[in-house]
């Protein structure tokens, strides 16, 4: 038996909920066919989540998943974004796989990249600071200090995988235009996703007792994101998310974290994402999306 999991036509960190709803019980007793044939567009968060789903299925011992690719034009972009080279390792891929080179010079500042250890984080941050700085400065008109904070935030978001997930994860950085929400301003988006234990399990041993019956995925995310608490008792821990928060507060950025069945976001004035969502369909691991708006265009 095969269960078909439809991928939304526009896959981003919010419509990921629809993808999750199609998964069914976990681990799935039957083979999953992740069907992206009607998918027209995906954000880096969507790409990272797709790979996370494939990785989680492989690591859970579920039957090897399948992936139906979108139409060739869209699949070509998936190849450019570095998705397909990894998807082929995780899924049995159906459809023509375009042999297009991964592109790191345009709107894709960092193609889908696996994060397994600290060396991978160093490599990602080094590449971004060397190659993408000019794009961030010129296309988004970000000042040097904003670009530096971007690199710091990227580093800390990736380190969360190494420190807390217990398995590998994925990161991608894209630049695109927010036509509706920011009237055509460009934004840089960092998407980090892992198939690990999630916020709730990571913090359970040290925090669950404090909250009793109120302990949940949403509470765990808030404990880490809003209160800066880590599972480590070391006073120096928990600085990563705190530092990202300070940076985003200064530059009107946004962070949204989904883990398990909840999503918690710190939402700037320009966006209307609900700050706390519970009871969502379960999805493996944790997904962090960070959005930094470029400078407002001159009138």
């Amino acid at each position: 038996m095969t269960r078909v999991v439809p991928v939304p036509s526009h896959l981003d960190h919010l419509s990921l909920d629809q993808l999750a709803a199609g998964i069914g019980p976990w681990p799935p007793p039957e083979r999953l066919l992740v069907d992206a044939h009607a998918t027209e567009w995906s954000s880096p968060a969507g790409f990272a989540a797709l790979l996370t789903l494939g990785q989680a299925l492989v690591e859970s011992g579920a039957p090897a998943p399948e992936l139906t690719l979108p139409v060739p034009d869209v699949a070509s972009y998936w190849a450019k974004a570095g998705v397909l080279r990894h998807a082929e390792q995780l899924f049995q891929v159906h459809g023509m796989v375009p042999r297009r080179r991964v592109d790191e010079t345009s709107d894709i500042l960092l193609p889908l990249t696996i994060i397994r250890n600290a060396a991978d984080v160093m490599e990602v941050v080094g590449r971004i600071t060397e190659q993408a700085t000019q794009i961030l400065k010129h296309e988004l008109e970000l000042e040097s200090s904003v670009v530096v904070g971007f690199g710091q935030s990227l580093s800390e978001a990736c380190q969360n995988i190494v420190e807390h997930a217990g398995t590998a994860g994925w990161v991608a950085v894209h630049v695109y235009v927010y036509r509706k929400r920011l009237s055509g301003r460009k934004v840089a988006v960092i998407a980090v996703s892992d198939a690990g234990i999630g916020f709730r399990r990571s913090l359970e041993a040290t925090q669950a007792k404090r909250f009793g019956d109120r302990w949940s995925d949403a509470q765990a995310i808030e404990t880490a994101l809003i209160h800066g608490i880590s599972r480590f008792r070391d006073p120096g821990r928990g600085q990563g998310l705190s530092g990202i928060k300070r940076y985003l507060a200064r530059w009107e950025g946004k962070i949204s974290i989904r883990s398990g069945t909840a999503r918690v976001a710190i939402v700037p004035a320009w966006d209307d994402e609900p700050p706390r969502m519970e009871g969502l369909a379960w999805f493996p691991g944790s997904q962090v999306t960070i959005v930094i708006p470029g400078k407002e265009p001159k009138a």
């Binding site: 600290a118 984080v121 160093m122 941050v125 690199g151 800390e156 380190q159 120096g236 600085q239 990563g240």
Partner: protein, 181 residues
């Protein structure tokens, strides 16, 4: 005497990387361990950690390289430990890391010649430190005069800074910032 420890060189020795960025906790811990080895060999000398050629530093690395270094070198006979070549984003990350431990350190920023305190220094300490920069080396009374404070209040502040190795308290009851002033 003051020994300068170039962190970009320590980074290259500690981690095989073509980049100049101080990022990730394991990297920070590896750099810190090497710095501590160097500090152990230079007992009774002042030490300066040089950030001039360091690229980006993340928040976790600031904790590992600077805050935990201060915690782990309390017993070493290093009269003064300071930072130089620090850029604004380094300073911000270091400041936030030090506040969590209630620690302070003197830093000379790349863009400004004067030394400043990073971390959780009480206002009196910051004011006394600033006043002492005009003297270089002085007893408490002239610093107290400059601040229009009573001498005991000034002594408290200067001695607090000396306890945190931000300046040197000499046996003749003078306090000195040294080469950073």
């Amino acid at each position: 005497m003051s020994g300068i420890i170039r962190l970009d060189i320590v980074l290259r020795e500690a981690v095989a990387t073509p980049y100049r960025d101080l990022v990730t906790r394991p990297t920070g811990a590896a750099v810190r361990h090497r710095v501590i080895t160097v500090l152990r060999a230079m007992q009774d000398d002042n030490a300066e950690l040089d950030f001039s050629e360091v690229g980006l530093m993340d928040f976790s690395c600031a904790d590992e390289v600077v805050a935990k270094l201060l915690v782990e070198t309390v017993g070493l006979r290093i009269p003064r430990l300071m930072l130089r070549g620090v850029r604004d984003h380094h300073a911000e990350a270091i400041e936030n890391a030090l506040v969590r431990y209630d620690l302070i350190i003197v830093a000379v920023l790349a863009e400004s010649p004067g030394p400043r305190l990073l971390g959780s220094a009480p206002e009196d300490w910051r004011a006394a430190f600033q006043a002492l920069t005009h003297f270089g080396r002085a007893a408490a009374p002239p610093v107290a005069d400059a601040l229009a404070w009573p001498v005991p209040r000034t002594v408290d502040a200067l001695e607090g800074l000396a306890r945190h190795r931000c300046l040197v308290a000499h046996p003749d009851a003078t306090f000195e910032l040294g080469a950073v002033a």
